[in-house]
Amino acid sequence: MSRPLTICHLYPELMNIYGDRGNVITLRRRCEWRGMPVEVHEVSLRQRIDPDQYDIFFLGGGQDREQVLVCQDLLEVKGEALRSAAASGACFLTVCGGYQLLGRYFLTYTGETLPGIEIFDAWTEGAQERFIGNMVIEVTGPSGAPLRGVGFENHSGHTYLGETARPLGRVVTGYGNNGVDGMEGCRVGNAIGTYLHGSLLPKNPWLADELLLAALRRHDAGATLAPLDDFMEEHARDAAIARSLGHKGIGRRNR
């Protein structure tokens, strides 16, 4: 690739409610440890973006008020560019509020509709029950073998997937998208939405590397990633999974 792998961190000062920037830290480090040039651009309100400039887009979670501001900006300023990037295969990792905004809409508990930018065929309804707790999911890894992912969810938005959307994974313990269908997150091409905080990628490096590899392969179909020593990551994941399975989620409660 002629330019460094470039990550777009969207609205970092607004959508960073709970350590989600750990995902950007993880992507950056895993490039640095491989000697791969990488850049992170922070992009915020009212700034236009050139969709071809970025390989990976990251959008974290935020509080309600921030989410409304970002929603407006996405609709008025960046939405088109992001849709175009997704259509051309750019990678997206979006967490919680970010995930919701990439869907079709969010119907708040008080009845307002916040439109999303429709990268995911999914929609979210604000509910009284808040899903809080450790969550373990199972996904089919790139080699076909099942892989576990672990993190922490905290959301009162219940997300439902449409016909053309696939979930990120199946819930092993926790609530997931809506506490009913046993699914968590959404995956469309190289775009991922998830309710997993944690942050997600540090304990689930296989997913970080999937995103990095997909980004590289957009420019070079034969690109490969050198393996890293993920001893600590794997132990941390196993320890977190053991803890999650031993402890139930904090439980539903009213807002």
Binding site: Q63, P202, A239
Partner: protein
Amino acid sequence: MSLRLTASVAAGKAATALSRRLGAGAGSNFPGRVVLGIEPRALQRMAAELPRGNVVVSGTNGKTTTSNMLAAILREAGLHPVHNRAGANLLSGITAALAQGSDLRGRPRGDIGLFEVDEATLPAALERLQPRLVVVTNLFRDQLDRYGELESLGRKMSRGIAELAGRRTDALLLLNADDPLVATLGEEGGLSGVSFFGIEHEGYGTRGLEHASDSTHCRVCGALLHYSTTFFGHMGKYACPNCGAARPRPDFAASSLQMRGVEGSSVTVASPLGSFEIEVRVPGLYNVHNALAAAGAAALLGIEPAIIQRGLSGFSTAFGRSERIQARGREIVLVLSKNPAGFNEVIRTVSEAGGKLRLLLALNDLIADGRDISWIWDVDFENLAAVAGSVTATGLRAWDMGLRMKYAGTPAGEIRVIEDMGEALDQALEDTEPQGTLFALTTYTATLKLRDEMLRRGFVKPFWREEAAR
């Protein structure tokens, strides 16, 4: 005095004694629940007996340090505060403290109540205590899995304060001017006396906001606040570019300030009583705020500057907050941090010590710590990794802590992950050269556990014995 109250107090004292013998942590709420189980109105009945009334200190960070500083000043003034130390700050903890501080008939041995109160418990505590003075230190994103969103918490606190104002119009309120969410807590109305504390001196501020910020919206019109100076987290000098709402002028202000790393700071306090100097013997800007809050509270209670100065200069560190502990020829500096802003301040302070630091990092995820440990990724551990010599990660989430340091830049081979805290303590001490310093940075319950391990090894006495020895 009612029989029911007597019975509840007696039971509470017995429960406390039992708790201590069983080695239950100093933060236990069990004795208080026993008291309230027998007499549900024990709290308000005992609180009403205190001749000089009650003071409440609330907020996310600094409650314990501020109230301990204020306790030191009150004692210097010849008062005998009944104080819920050791951070037992829910209604049960306050009740237990009152029971301990009372005779068997529920009559207080002290003369003024001083209670640190958990933010979510504030409305209920205000109703029962009817305090003459309420101090709010700050509001930070802390344990979001417990409190949901910061704004609804602020509204509930505001309402609780307004209800207190309705019941006693002479109640005083002391708020942090530098925190936009706290500065407006008195506005729901009716309070005659709202005072503020804050830092005026800008030498230790920076331009722009730290990334891990919250509360950056104008409480009046919702626009993003503009900061001319930031002290830490979202503390600073701010104004709304849209509606003009601005930070209130602090009545108790640090007009001049000199920071001296882990030794603390020298502060000139400008106040309605004139200017006076104080020595703050604990480090960091956050402790300057705590000292200003304590000094301001004391002044509002009618205590004169000379006594405030003496009280603060005699103040030694509170439980687990920058405690210095001698252990096997080394010195352990034990610092509790609960959330990103606090941790960042601690990192900034210990980095000033320079050199290659010996670090023991303890991360727990029990309810009191916050079950979700994602917040560690909001902390600038990169700054700590830059000065780290050896790192031992421990606690219930030891691996997550070790992993964070790996991504912060410490080579994986230099990070020890030892889940058992006693073992980790022993190893970390061994990794520290004789006469050297081990910095132990810990979350709330991990502080308690680590202190227990130190107790077992004879580095410290049981906390309540140290209290009695004061």
